[in-house]
Amino acid sequence: MKRLLALAAQALPSVIALAGALVVSGLIVWVSGHSPWLALSAVVEGAFGSADSLSEVCVKTCPLLLCGLAVAVSFRAGVWNIGVEGQLLLGALAMAALGRQVGPLPAAGALAFDLGAAALAGAAWAGIAAVLKLRRNVSEVISTIMLNFVALLFISYLVQGPLMETGGRYPQTDALADGLMLPRLFAGHRVHLGLVVAVLAAAALQFVLFRTVAGFEMRAAGANPQAARLAGINVDRRLLLALMLSGALAGLAGGIEVSGVTRRLYERFSPGWGFTGIAVGLLGRLSPAGVVVAALFFGALDAGSNAMQRVAGVSSVLVSVIQATVILFLVTLERARWFQPQAGPEA
């Protein structure tokens, strides 16, 4: 009972933010001359109406979940990784480039290897920002945002040049070799094994953050770097670890999306999962379990938005409005809630 109450207290800001965001977007729908109720019921119907739509929700949830976890681990350590999008793209690139052939390993082994490479590529991309921060004191907010553009343009170049498909008709990579696609969980539905990987990643992150020394040290470094340093924690090394771990989760998201859904890498591969991941992470209160719920929510919103557009005539862009309002509400609530005890008057 006590635990349940504590959980409720933790989730409260998210619930308020969500309710606020829904009210605001409902108002926008109403002002634009549509029925909020119709829109809402269309979203719900579109997301949960059938087995197939449920499967689509899961497909959308998968990258959001991994990106939300990426945000959670770095934000917990006080590292503001805004570059999840770019790290995701690098992971997708690694998967798409390596996965064109199966290679010497058995297919399952090759798939695992390539996904590992995707995670490493994301970690390495985040590592650039980490090194800049630790060596040159460059704010990771700036460097990770900028590296997003670098990744985007780099991939744009690759898919139109060196990695363009054989035959060269479209700016995209060759399709993955057959054995390298993640198996589907249910025949006839697109939901794939990647969802299981993502949920396992959430469980693993929960363990790392709350049951390992390194995880505690990351959280301590995030909560108060000075106290952590004085406690004998190597704060720099923990920041580096958190950022690379974050990049690895993002890279894995990209790799899984290629081998689970798209089979190829192309321009505009990501609709902004890395950015939505920030909303997912914050809405999930930076806790892995919370992130699972938040990712599911945004996944359902995403999957249901097409139905909303079709049935209620409300543009699916409204989803972005909801995401943005959630973040604004949460950030505002944080300010009000995380009341830092005042240091005594400087007399």
């Binding site: 049951r211 390194a214 301590a220 004085l230 004998g232 005594g344 007399a347």
Partner: protein, 502 residues
């Protein structure tokens, strides 16, 4: 008649009476030093004068008329300007642009660069401050020049009263001399200058009159010529009373737990912060380091806990010399610590109480063998410690920020003592605590010493040092005096605190 007066001004922050019915007068053409320890109420009083705080009671009189400033801007427009210890300049802007922000009249949409530069130069010339307003951004200026710019800003509203809050803390000795020259010039122009400090030597060097404050009250206001540095030190720290508790019988024949030799530290300005500091502490002994804040206390703490590597000297624990200076090495050598600021350095406020018990390398290593946190065992320890130290809390899972100050401090004390350190370094351990909580922390320290731990008590609260320490030295201007043993000679102590003798 006084330019600026305060009558019966009081200000309270929560439980702390920061100002208690203060009466003071400041005169034109006079440099008036306000002297006191940290927490004596100097800054609070100045913030009231400069319109940054509203007093709970009492009045501020300008030329004999009561005034109530709604904002620092209103105070400045009335001619009262303040130079803060931490500069309030915009570093990316030029000198002239910074000045504009303080000048009255620059409103509207258009920014006339030439006119404002001319105005800035005129102001600088009028005040007699050599300043090259040019188009240099402020961040390229040396600290001394930035301070001159701050002074200029403070004078922009006419500058009848200029308040300087510990202006010398950031300056090199040469810059201090320059500042003093400038202040004398401003005095000659008939301005009233209020100079806040806790450095006695500076009072003597530049002030005409001095007001000594202690615990929110004005103790005395006298001409600088009528009081010695020792007299000032005594007034500042209060009467040296014999310890209120029976001095413990410190074991005289125990092993030496900590020895510190020839420590030298240079601060960011290149000024020596510690010079040849050395002392020894035996197991079971409480060694006090008294002195006025800002005389090297922070640096000494940082060296002892491994945050800072000295350029000279070494630290040994139990006969073993520390080869590296890092918090990890210090913990492993057996040095625990109670940092001076529990919120800034002692606790991670948003983490739970149970987790805050882990913020110590040795505790963390004990429960983290193989990299996996033994959370159940760690909780057991946390539960045992909360009971042993009578820490009041709802649950071990509540964020430590929800605890009262006294309970937070007990969390730190309990944690640092959990691994039975050979040495405990503590800075102002009871500062900001209510009497009851302070008593509990003090009792805990004595109990720890009796358990065989060597305690280094660095404190600017003389009562605290006198009550707890078996022996004490005084840190003044980065040098440590020879240890004094009880009974402490009050006169000699005052002399040492004033830095008049070595």
């Amino acid at each position: 008649m006084a330019v600026l007066s305060v009558r019966g001004v009081s200000k309270r922050f929560g439980a702390l009476q920061a100002l208690a019915a203060v009466d003071l007068d400041f005169h034109a053409g006079e440099i008036h030093a306000v002297l006191g320890e940290n927490g004596a109420g100097k800054s609070t009083l100045m913030h009231v004068l400069a319109g940054m705080l509203r007093p709970d009671g009492g009045t501020v009189l300008l030329d004999g008329h009561p005034v109530g400033f709604a904002s620092p801007g209103a105070a400045r427009a009335a001619g009262i300007g303040m130079v803060h210890q931490h500069f309030t300049l915009i570093e990316a802007l030029t000198v002239a642009e910074n000045l504009v922000l303080s000048l009255p009249g620059q409103t509207g949409w258009r920014f006339d660069r030439d006119a404002t530069t001319a105005e800035a130069q005129a102001l600088a010339a009028h005040v007699g401050l050599a300043l090259s307003p040019g188009n240099q951004p402020v961040h390229t200026l040396p600290v001394g020049a930035r301070q001159r710019l701050e002074i200029l800003k403070a004078l922009a509203g006419g500058g009848r009263v200029l308040i300087l809050d510990e202006p010398t803390a950031v300056l090199t000795p040469a810059e201090v001399q320059h500042l003093f020259g400038m202040l004398r010039e401003l005095r000659a122009q008939g301005r009233a200058i209020i100079f806040i400090t806790h450095k006695l030597r500076e009072v003597r060097a530049v002030a005409d009159r001095v007001t000594i404050m202690r615990r929110g009250r004005v103790i005395t206001t006298v001409g600088v010529d009528e009081i010695s540095e020792r007299g000032m030190a005594e007034q500042m720290v209060g009467e040296v009373l014999p310890p209120t508790r029976q001095t413990r019988h410190a074991p005289a024949d125990t092993a030496e737990a900590l020895s510190v030799d020839g420590i030298g530290v240079t601060d960011a300005r290149g000024v020596a912060a510690l010079t040849d500091v050395g002392f020894r502490v035996r197991a079971g002994e409480i060694f006090g380091i008294a002195g006025v804040d800002g005389n090297g206390q922070r640096e000494l703490f940082e060296v002892l806990v491994g945050l800072r590597a000295p350029h000279a000297g070494h630290v040994s624990v139990g006969g073993r010399t520390l080869s590296t200076f890092s918090p990890r090495a210090a913990h492993h050598a057996g040095i625990g610590h109670i940092p001076p600021d529990r919120h800034r350095e002692g606790l991670a406020l948003t983490l739970s109480v149970a987790e805050n018990f882990l913020l110590n390398r040795r505790v963390l290593d004990r429960f983290g063998r193989g990299g996996i946190l033994q959370t159940a065992a760690a909780r057991q320890l946390a539960a045992r410690l909360t009971e042993q130290y009578a820490i009041q809390l709802a649950s071990l899972d509540t964020p430590v920020q929800s605890l009262s100050g006294g309970n937070q401090q007990r969390v730190i004390v309990a944690r640092e003592l959990a691994e039975r350190p050979r040495v405990l370094v503590t800075v102002n351990p009871t500062r900001g605590l209510d009497v009851h909580a302070a008593r509990a922390v003090a009792d805990a320290l004595v109990a720890v010493a009796e358990g065989g731990c060597a305690i280094v008590l660095i404190s600017t609260d003389l009562d605290e040092v006198l009550e707890l320490a078996d022996r004490l030295s005084v840190l003044a201007r980065g040098r440590l005096s020879e240890p004094l043993e009880p009974p402490i000679d009050a006169e000699r102590l005052g002399l040492l605190m004033a830095g008049a003798a070595g």
